[in-house]
């Protein structure tokens, strides 16, 4: 392609913009979440039976739900839980999965065999069973959902990174580093990890979105946030019977999830690129 250098140059200009935009969206949600009582303008749990299912208006910019609660206030308060969910639901499995995948892929042998059998067992478990059982034993609530997630979701990370590492460990520069007698730990952390991490980062950000949505589908089993807590996923699930007549109950929390997801994904793209540049 004749315009290759130009494209490359324009790309490097775009990277910071992407991260900046994504970070700005995430920051906006974090600020909204922290300042929820100020921004919401209404009590998210205040019921008004005389004003149920009202379409968006000046008084209620996002309309009201089936109990006359202000959807805007609930979306803003819901950010507190959902932003937290995107972090707490992703980080622990990511750390566990990357650690397992990195070492078992690099060192191979017995460690790899055992770890991969563990991966096989975990991955073979239907997600809902595990979550129901764990939450059943620990009690309902979001905290236990995170624990269940950590126990299940690490597998995707472990496999993704292992697939990368298995290829990388035969690369010439890694072999060279080994020949030079560097400590294996140093090689793994300094050379393998940075080169293997980009699909992980990309996946983690999309995973954050999936975690938020999966949290919603757990709501109906009584395993997500407990009512009347405002949480986007539960709001969407609650709005289900009204999806035809009162679209706004599902739509706005859905839109909130889309924008939060967009934030995560933009940062993910930017980071993926940045990581590649530094390595």
């Amino acid at each position: 392609m004749s315009d290759e250098p130009a494209a490359f140059a324009s790309m490097s200009r775009k990277v910071p913009f992407e991260i900046a935009l994504g970070a700005a969206i995430l920051a906006a949600w974090v600020i909204l979440a922290i300042g929820a009582p100020v921004f919401a303008g209404a009590d998210p749990n205040a019921i008004d039976l005389l004003a149920i299912l009202q379409p968006p208006s000046l008084n209620h910019p996002f309309g009201t739900d089936h109990l006359g609660r202000d959807v805007f206030a609930r979306v803003v308060f819901g950010a507190r839980i959902d932003v937290w969910m995107g972090v707490a639901g992703v980080l622990p499995p990511l750390v566990i999965g990357v650690t397992v995948g990195l070492f078992s892929g690099y060192f191979g042998g017995l460690l790899d065999t055992v770890m991969m059998r563990l991966v096989d067992i975990t991955v073979a478990f239907p997600f809902f069973i595990l979550v129901i059982a764990i939450v059943g034993m620990l009690g309902p609530g979001l905290g236990n959902y995170f624990i269940a997630l950590a126990l299940v979701a690490w597998v995707s990370y472990a496999r993704l990174i292992r697939a990368e590492v298995v290829v990388l460990k035969n690369a010439e520069y890694i072999q060279a580093a080994r020949a030079l007698g560097y400590h294996p730990l140093y090689i793994v952390l300094r050379h393998v990890l940075p080169n293997a991490i980009s699909p992980i980062v990309v996946y983690a950000m999309s995973d954050a979105v999936l975690v938020i949505l999966a949290g919603a589908s757990l709501g109906f089993l009584g395993l997500g946030a407990q009512p009347p807590t405002a949480e986007w996923g539960v709001m969407i699930a609650d709005g289900q019977p009204y999806v035809i007549d009162a679209w706004w109950i599902c739509f706005f929390p859905g839109l909130a999830a889309v924008t939060l997801g967009l934030g995560f994904l933009l940062v993910s793209d930017g980071l993926a690129h940045a990581l590649k540049v530094t390595s």
Binding site: I47, Q226, P227, D238, D245
Partner: protein, 504 residues
């Protein structure tokens, strides 16, 4: 790009397949319901879904006619002795689906099976039956422990259906009901796909001449309410149960659809656990009841389609006390009662499961109780856990619903209000000796006027003492297509399938 290719594929598929969905020459009545058929043995379950199925497969001695009155079923006629303790029924010449005659032996076998079998799920309707005997081929003599007014009505309950003694003994209980039971009702099983659908076909030997008026029926399990609506709108089914309240008005205006909102024996209420503080104190229960604006709750929950409840018994039942004013909405009184009670300000637990709309109800109760100073937190669990915690008394309040399978209030009262009938008043631990006595007295009373007075007294006492907090009496939100005529649901959850004609 993906959209374009999907669009193209869609168009192609649509062209190829136009008309592929049209039905064959057979006229099946297709019904979508969220409730499952889990067994074909009428004695083994009393769960919604199964009872709808049992009603179609097994005929009872008596039936309800179109006005809801008791009419002859398999029994052509009956006589009650003067002391009220002996019922003699004469059977008509009827046949099972396999062509064998329905005899007095089969009747005795079926009834005793429900009463005595250790795995019989719901023996309550036949609890007063002391002895059942086949006097001859066509005569059954039933002797009661004591005079019992609701007895004939109980012979119409879903699990009093007649099964074939010969077949059950020949194939064994498991095999006989596994997939193709011999039936006495309007239908027999063509195909049962558990967790999916039950396909019925007309029994060639049903005793009512000319019935069923269709070739068969398909009872399809559809868990999602939006899907049931979509199936109705696209004509994939002829009837659907439990249309969401918010879509009722919309569907009522659609051409080719009907939503008659038939009366039901369903009552929405909240259980209060009287086995532990704070609801062991009647003042706290009364405070909790006065705090709730039942009219507003009924309106909010059902978009104005349900009557607010005024007593602890379902509004459609015989002897319902419709003039009773109910528990007044009076937050000031609630606060006063609460202050004078032993309530210590601790959070109570509202235990809910995953049934439709119940979150909404729980949040409403929580808010109205909070307004008078009764603090509550909601715990949502799945149904398996709910049914473990309720009998164990591990809850404070539990909004839910129940219904009665006959119009007579006897079974309802024993189930929900009686402390000595086996389930401690629906596991609320409510136990008033006076009420327990009145329930027995009302059942033994044959004079309708006196029975009315007794049941009114029961409702007054239990409502004042707040054995449960009655909330509202919803009608059925069934939708029907114009393709069928004569299909409805009786208040006791039975489809009038045999009367149904496919007209288009």
């Amino acid at each position: 790009m993906i959209w374009r290719s999907i669009g193209a594929a869609a168009a192609v598929a649509a062209c190829i397949l136009t008309g592929a969905g049209s039905a064959g020459s057979e006229e099946l009545v297709r019904i979508a319901s969220p409730y499952k058929t889990t067994t074909l043995d009428p004695s083994r379950s009393a769960a919604a879904g199964n009872i709808e199925t049992f009603g179609q497969l097994y005929a009872r001695l008596l039936r309800r006619d179109q006005n809801g009155e008791l009419a002859p079923g398999l029994a052509e006629s009956w006589e009650i002795s003067d002391d009220g303790k002996t019922v003699t029924l004469t059977l008509r010449d009827a046949k099972f689906s396999d062509g064998s005659p329905i005899t007095a032996e089969d009747v005795v076998f079926s009834l005793l099976r429900v009463r005595d079998h250790p795995e019989s799920a719901y023996p309550a309707p036949l609890q007063q039956l002391a002895e059942a005997k086949a006097k001859d081929e066509k005569t059954v003599v039933l002797t009661l422990e004591h005079p019992f007014a609701p007895f004939l009505g109980n012979l119409e309950v879903f699990n009093a259906g007649i099964v074939s003694k010969t077949d059950v003994e020949a194939r064994g209980e498991e095999e006989a009901f596994a997939s193709d039971p011999v039936t006495s009702g309007p239908y027999q099983v063509r195909e049962w796909r558990p967790n999916d659908r039950l396909v019925l076909e007309a029994s060639p030997n049903y005793w009512r001449e000319g019935y069923p008026k269709n070739d068969g029926a398909e009872l399809i399990e559809v868990g999602s309410e939006n899907t049931r609506v979509a199936m109705m709108l696209s004509g994939e089914v002829d009837a659907a149960r439990e249309i969401p309240w918010s879509q009722v008005s919309d569907l009522q205006t659609r051409e080719g659809l009907e939503m008659p909102l038939e009366p039901s024996t369903v009552i929405y209420m909240t259980l209060l656990n009287e086995g532990r503080a704070p609801f062991d104190d009647v003042r706290v229960r009364q405070a909790a009841a006065h705090a709730i604006d039942v009219k507003a709750v009924a309106k909010a929950m059902t978009f104005g389609h349900a009557e607010p409840a005024n007593t602890t018994l379902p509004g459609a039942l015989d002897f319902h006390h419709s003039e009773y004013p109910g528990i007044a909405y009076d937050p000031a009184k609630a606060k006063a009662l609460l202050e004078e009670s032993d309530y210590d300000g601790e959070d109570i637990v509202i235990l809910i499961s995953d049934i439709a709309d119940i979150d909404k109800l729980a949040v409403l109760l929580q808010a109205q109780w909070a307004a008078v100073g009764l603090k509550a937190k909601i715990e949502k669990v799945d149904r398996g856990v709910w049914w473990e915690r309720i009998p164990n008394g591990d809850y404070d309040a539990a909004p839910s619903w129940w219904y009665n399978e006959t119009m007579d209030p006897d079974l309802a009262a024993r189930w929900a209000l009686c402390g000595t009938c086996g389930n401690r008043s629906f596991y609320t631990n409510y136990d008033d000796p006076k009420v327990n006595e009145l329930i027995e007295a009302a059942a033994a009373e044959f004079d309708p006027e006196k029975r009315t007075a007794l049941y009114h007294e029961i409702q007054e006492i239990t409502t004042t003492e707040v054995s449960q907090i009655p909330l509202y009496y919803p009608p059925f939100t069934n939708a029907y297509s114009a393709r069928v005529e004569g299909l409805q649901m009786t208040p006791a959850l039975q489809w009038t399938l045999e009367e149904t004609e496919v007209v288009e």
